[in-house]
Amino acid sequence: MTETTPTTREPDPLEFDKPRVSIRKPEHRFDSQGETPDASRVERAMNSFVRDFGRTAAVYMESCIHCGMCAEACHFYEVTQDPKYTPIWKLEPFKQAYKREYGPFAFVYRALNLKPKVTVDELQQWQHLLYDSCTVCGRCSLMCPMGIDIASLVSQARHGMFKAGLVPHELAAVTERARREGSPLGATPKVFADRCEWLSDEHDVEITIDKPRADVLCAMSSIEIMKYPESVVATARIMRHVGADWTFRLDGYEATNFGLLTGDAAAQKELTLKIVHAAVACGAKVVVLPECGHAYTALRWMGANMYGKPLPFRVLHIAEFLAEQVRTGKLRLRKLGKTVTFHDPCQLVRRGGAIEAPREVLQALGVELREMYPTKGANWCCGGGGGVVAIHRADELRHKVFKIKMEQIEETGAELPVTSCANCRQTFDDGQAHFKWDKTMHSLLELVADNLVEDAQ
């Protein structure tokens, strides 16, 4: 499956007008990037992997006892029962590389050749395991009896894969485009500005852009801008409702960070710093992130480390922001009187720690919350996170995984499935279409915006 790779990517092989990012000619996939000889691909992967390593990851590598229990936590294993989807197995080449290149006995392993050098063929095989069949949801990290955070290791391995130029076509292309155009899905500053103007007229709401000073800087995700523009409107309505001094900024509106998903650390940093600099420029006290799981990880938990010092502002997911407004009484909501179940976005809840915030907001909406089983930290992933929803060859597998989600939701008997992540929402929409399911996933943000008590007007 080694292909000669084109030096340039012209014409762009991606289409952005479809509901999801698409490759124009699916038979022409380029799942390896650049013109690098195989040997140096491996070397780059390993160098990157080694460079990332710190104490914690090394302790993880030393601790696995091959008990296989992580398989039980993985939705990809759950639906296929195929052992290759065992989470720790997804790291096998990198475990070998660690032992050979970096562990305390590395020189013994090298001298006696106890662990063979990883080959480019192996890395290519593992691309499927590290990208197509891992949403970095971190459920396995909750299972591991040794306490290994397997998901964090997958992210590190992706760095190596990126350096080797062995990233699935779609992810490589959107990341490259995000760096070039400022948005992975074509929501360039101009497109965003146009959309905002159009939405403002259409929905009769003021959308503030590029206010020189503002307390609150809002950001959106590409998926919302391109596919769920109502979210932009909802954000604007809510900000006005709570009386926030807020703005969007064209130099930092895009919270999506494909650098994180792809394993392109430089791109990740670049994209993060855009928002950080924009926030600093307008003197924002709070950056409110959109309904996007990995954007939360990227800025809330990794942002300061990219910036090199503590961030001079708070970072809140929109659900956390809403919960705060409910608590202070600024957010007044109509009672919805419906039964609702909440799908926990992995990066926001399990790994991000914003477990109760969305539930507080739902409570304020007066709904009857019917929790799924399992729920909160142990909830099943929708199957589309970690960039998986962008990878077309993974569709079949992802749809299998999605069945778990449908069953979970059906079991609650709730009328309205709600989540707070546009990427989850996109995955649900795709799943709904595929299975001709009668349930539509709703956005918590939009639900709130639709039920504001606007007494003044």
């Binding site: 006995f105 040794m146 955070d149």
Partner: protein, 229 residues
């Protein structure tokens, strides 16, 4: 020098030296690697509270119990049987008391003022038998279960061997099995335990130490974010 003298003398000393050197080497070789300060604003300042994961992860969340019950039960059966036998069988206690005497010039009673309790031989025999049975069961599971078969390597099988060996030879020595003279059985038992010590730092048995660091690290990282433990 007969076999027992060898087992009790040079073999014991060398295996102990290798164990100490290997454990420190591997542990420090990892613990002294660089760490990066996390600059993000913690959700919960008392990240150390995440250390509770060390205890918490000793049993799976109820959501995961179904698929892992076999491994958990067998794991506990093996570890409890092995550790109780190791630390509470009368001759073993005498053996450890001698370490203290050899190193500190007084036995454990003199050192700590505590009496080390021991278990009756019948109980120890039962525990060892349970431990051996659990080990056999997990080996079969490792061979039969597709997941474990795929992810297993030499370390897994060899570590299994050196773990069951002292249990099996100890039982044989206790029961005077095989018509061998007791001193040869004792020597083989000692040698098998020494093999365990020698292999310990180099294979997955090291999890006995790293488990605390791994769980503790994850616990603190997650607690800091308020993430699910």
């Amino acid at each position: 020098m007969n076999l027992l003298d060898f087992a009790r003398g040079p073999a014991l000393q060398w295996s102990l030296v290798i164990f100490v050197v290997g454990v420190l080497w591997r542990l420090l070789g990892v613990l002294l690697l660089r760490t990066r300060k996390d600059l993000s604003e913690p959700r919960q300042a008392a990240a150390w509270k995440g250390l509770r994961l060390i205890a918490l992860r000793s049993w799976p969340r109820k959501e995961f119990l179904g698929g892992t019950a076999f491994g958990e039960v067998m794991g506990y059966a093996f570890h409890i049987g092995f550790l109780l036998t190791l630390f509470f069988y009368v001759p073993h206690v005498l053996f450890f008391a001698d370490i203290a005497r050899g190193l500190f010039g007084t036995d454990l009673h003199g050192l700590t003022g505590l009496h080390w309790p021991t278990l009756p031989n019948g109980v120890v025999t039962l525990l060892s038998a349970i431990s051996i049975a659990a080990l056999v069961a997990v080996l079969i599971h490792r061979i039969v279960n597709p997941v474990k078969r795929l992810i297993s390597n030499f370390d897994d099988y060899f570590s299994w061997l050196v773990t069951i060996a002292p249990l099996a030879t100890g039982m044989a020595a206790f029961a005077h099995l095989g018509g061998w003279p007791y001193e040869r059985l004792l020597a083989v038992h000692l040698l098998s335990a020494e093999l365990l010590l020698v292999w310990f730092p180099f294979g997955k048995l090291m999890h006995a130490f790293t488990i605390f660091v791994a769980r503790g690290s994850t616990g603190m990282l997650f607690e800091r974010k308020g993430a699910s433990l």
